[in-house]
């Protein structure tokens, strides 16, 4: 639990990844957002594709974050896609 971050997936990411939120252990410190995405992408093609899509955005602790953001334990990470309907 100690090194965990919590990850949330929104909209069709939650559907396609079949995961709404999870606790994820940080295996090394410091871990950047880019490294987290790499680790998650190892879970399979669908993870690799969805997290790699240019339109998928990410927030850390409720603030939009860039790939070089450094994660620390207890952080809350959210991945969300644009939605288009109206």
């Amino acid at each position: 639990m100690n090194n965990d971050i919590q990850i949330f997936y929104f909209a069709n990411l939650a559907d396609k990844l079949n995961c709404e939120n999870e606790f994820f252990p940080l295996d090394s410190t410091p871990t950047t957002l880019a490294q987290l995405k790499e680790q998650l992408s190892e879970r399979g093609t669908v993870w690799h594709e969805l997290l790699g899509e240019a339109s998928t955005r990410c927030a850390v602790n409720q603030a939009i974050a860039t790939e070089d953001a450094i994660l620390k334990r207890g952080d809350e990470v959210a991945f969300f896609p644009p939605v288009t309907g109206g």
């Binding site: 929104f10 909209a11 069709n12 899509e53 339109s55 927030a59 644009p82 288009t84 109206g86």
Partner: protein, 370 residues
């Protein structure tokens, strides 16, 4: 009596606003002196238009190039059965004025396009995005960045919604989403629970009223992520992207993206479908889910898309010289099915627009029985 901003009737009508702490006569006056532009009169635009008209926003410009359709009535509550077939912008104006005759409305029965840019200027208080596509959102964003006008974004997908207020000097929509989504939702995922655009439209209307009346804002430079199933809300602080066009003045490769349309090839029209389906060498296949099939169908064999996608070219249940016509709810899954069957060496097409197009055609020609 000296001349007043409000008439006797208006003062009575808006009394619940005027008596509201922190809003009052000052807030109501600001609403009356505001000019808002609503782009899109669909699921989001319907509640936005109704509530802002009721609230007493003084002037509106509303855009929509579409006509009211039977399937709209499940969520676009500004319209009723009698509006079907008529221009959305004009019908919406009619209903807004019926609700509140003290407001002024310019209804433009056209989709918002670059030629309309001049209609958004320094006299525009706020633009409300109630569209259903990224092209128009990028256009609204670019015009509002240039004209330094604030705008509200809202959008929905199935059970999820997003809303944000973009104001000059903060992150713009392209800072948030520099790239459009890569794939258009298919007809299975394009469904929507009817109240969701209502909820998001009211988040927009709520933020609009606060913005127009100078109340504290919660969504300025923040993105609201809403989940209708869990009723969960997250608010994400946005940040200016230094590479974004709002900073550099250079638009990226997505100034006019082509996205949601280029899927329909190898498809047939409803008319051709009705002609071909009776032929002996033709098999119609419903590729929808079991639940959809049981809910309503127009005949043919039932083979869900997932099953079709497992087919390999060695399968002998299929005939090479038979014409297979696939259909689904709106034509996207059947397109996928037809493409897969073609890849397996079979002759297959998809019903363009799906069951919905077929039903619309049938209701026009009064032939509702398959």
């Amino acid at each position: 009596m000296t001349e007043t901003i409000f008439t006797q009737q208006e003062w009575l009508r808006y009394s619940r606003h005027i008596q509201l702490p922190n809003f009052g006569a000052a807030g109501q006056t600001k609403l009356k002196q505001s000019h808002v532009v609503i782009v899109g009169m669909g699921g989001l635009g319907a509640p936005v238009a109704l509530y802002l008209a009721a609230a007493g926003v003084g002037k509106f410009t509303i855009f929509d190039g579409d006509t009211v359709d039977e399937t709209n009535l499940q969520r676009q509550v500004i319209f009723n059965q009698n509006d079907v077939g008529h221009a959305k912008a004009l019908q919406a104006k009619h209903h807004m004025l019926a609700l509140n005759p003290h407001i002024h409305i310019d209804a433009i029965p056209d989709f918002f396009q670059p030629k309309h840019e001049a209609l958004i200027d320094q006299n525009t208080s706020l633009v409300l995005d109630c569209t259903d596509n990224f092209n128009t959102r990028y256009l609204i964003n670019d015009v509002c960045v240039r004209q330094k006008v604030a705008w509200l974004y809202a959008s929905i997908h199935q059970y999820s919604g997003q809303c944000a207020l973009f104001t000059p000097g903060h992150a713009c929509f392209r800072c948030l989403f520099p790239a459009p989504p890569e794939s258009a939702p298919d007809c299975n995922t394009a469904g929507v629970i009817g109240v969701l655009p209502g909820l998001l439209g009211l988040f927009e209307a709520n933020e609009a009223i606060k913005y127009l009346s100078d109340l504290p804002l919660e969504l300025e430079n923040r993105l609201l992520l809403f989940d209708a199933l869990k009723l969960s809300v997250q608010k994400i602080q946005l940040a200016i992207d230094p590479q974004c066009f709002c900073q550099t003045g250079e638009k990226g490769k997505f100034s006019s993206p082509q996205m949601c349309a280029e899927v329909q090839q190898q498809s047939i029209s409803v008319l051709d479908f009705n002609l071909h389906r009776e032929r002996a060498n033709t098999t119609v296949i419903d590729v929808r889910t079991e639940a959809e099939r049981l809910g309503f169908n127009i005949g043919g064999q039932h083979i869900p898309l997932q099953e079709i996608l497992t087919l390999t070219d060695s399968n002998n249940h299929w005939e090479k010289n038979r014409q297979y016509i696939c259909y689904c709810q709106s034509g996207s899954r059947s397109e996928q099915a037809a493409q897969h069957l073609q890849a397996c060496g079979l002759q297959a097409v998809s019903l363009d627009g799906g069951l919905l197009a077929w039903l619309k055609h049938a209701s026009k020609t009064q032939m509702l029985h398959p």
